[in-house]
């Protein structure tokens, strides 16, 4: 459990932190097993609702909430749920939390709910969530499952924000809807269209893979 205090490089720092098993469950989702950049899961919201940073953040945080809540409930019920109906039960639990977050977003901001549109309900079928339920929460304690959900959720939010930042800057010349380039900037509209999602994802995947290659040398 002891956390070594040697921090020679950034990677070393993460590795030393990761030597504590509970911290590791949290850290792995942020970086080593990042749902978007490493596991390449949950591509539907990653490509669809990252056309602005606000949308990306809201989507990421909504997904993170559902992940933490469903991981917690599924883990606490893991000895009670029969194997034959586990997937159906997981979906039921996930759908419940998605409905909760849907109402909560509506009660927070009408315009945010409008811009996320159908994608809030589609969190139900985000494979990151079902994947963590099946691969982790159904086999581990509540505490670890909550940490795993939080790590994966924040990792997902981080990835979505990366895409959202780049797409909004290039495609709309703004960040959080504040113009940053002035009126002379010609928007690169393709970046906020669906195709731009693929381009941006490719750019980030390339960047993170290069980073990983360098740090493993």
């Amino acid at each position: 459990m002891a956390i070594k205090k040697t921090t020679p490089t950034k990677v070393g720092f993460f590795q030393s932190l990761a030597s504590a098993p509970s911290t590791d469950e949290f850290i792995k989702g942020l970086w080593r097993e990042n749902p978007t950049f490493v596991q390449v899961l949950g591509m539907c919201p990653t490509l669809a609702v990252t056309n602005s940073l606000t949308n990306a953040l809201a989507m990421g945080l909504a997904t993170a909430f559902v992940l933490v809540a469903s991981n917690g409930l599924i883990s606490s019920l893991r000895n009670f749920i029969p194997k034959q109906v586990r997937i159906a039960t997981y979906i039921l639990i996930i759908a419940t939390f998605v409905t909760l977050i849907d109402y909560s977003i509506q009660a927070t901001s009408v315009s945010l709910h409008k811009s996320l549109g159908a994608f809030i309900s589609l969190i139900v079928v985000n494979c990151v969530i079902l994947g963590r339920a099946e691969a982790f929460a159904s086999k581990n304690s509540i505490g670890l499952s909550l940490l795993d959900g939080l790590g994966m959720g924040l990792g997902f939010t981080f990835a979505l924000s990366c895409l959202g930042t780049l797409r909004e800057i290039m495609g709309n010349g703004s960040l959080f809807n504040f113009p940053i380039f002035g009126p002379a900037y010609q928007e690169w509209v393709v970046m906020i269209l669906p195709a731009g999602g693929f381009f941006t994802l490719a750019i980030w995947l390339l960047f993170f893979n290069l980073l990983k290659k360098k740090s493993s040398k």
């Binding site: 109906v85 109402y103 909560s104 009660a107 906020i192």
Partner: protein
Amino acid sequence: MSDQNISKDKGSDVFQLFKSMVGIGLICAALIAFVFQTTQPRIKKLKAAALEEAVFQVIPGMVQKKTYLLDEKGNIQIAKEGVTAGELIYAGYDNDGKLLGLAIQASGMGFADVIKVIYGYRPTTQKVIGFKVLDSKETPGLGDKIEKDEHFLTNFKALDVALAADGKTLQNEIKAVKQGQKKHEWEINGITGATISSRAIGAIFKESTQKWMPTIVVHSNIFSNDTTLTHGH
């Protein structure tokens, strides 16, 4: 004997499945019901506030609002307090209670989904004086220019919707034309790159004005009646 055992096992198994599914289903239903109950008042309030804001935007200068309802017989009357269903229009007045305009909601099919809009109409000049998109899923960067494009929005500062002499139809139908080709006051300058969406707005206006303008002109007296006014912003 073994057969019996298996069927017995299956029986208890099925019961176990049933128990867990129903149990979890009940927990989930209770959670949803609870959150629905707690968020619903606020959601309603936010939606009403958004609509209120839109009404004040499409009738420039208004400070007071009254709500009217179009009933099934085609008559317009003052809507009772708290009515949200049915075909509602909103009348905007200045400080002295003078009618500045009417806000009318309309909708129609766009490129991606139904577009909902609200527009302001001034009976004295028979012109559209303001416009706002309430709800649209048009493509970001292209179709959603109908919400932001300044040139497009100037179409709705003085759009002619005057009635013909018989009072039953519009003198000139609202029509969307290509960008830069607007020649008459009843034409809407389209947007290059958002052709379908801007044409859809044209179609929504054409349909809505044909329906509302004759009715409003017939009932125009009711809007200037002295009744209690709701003070806004």
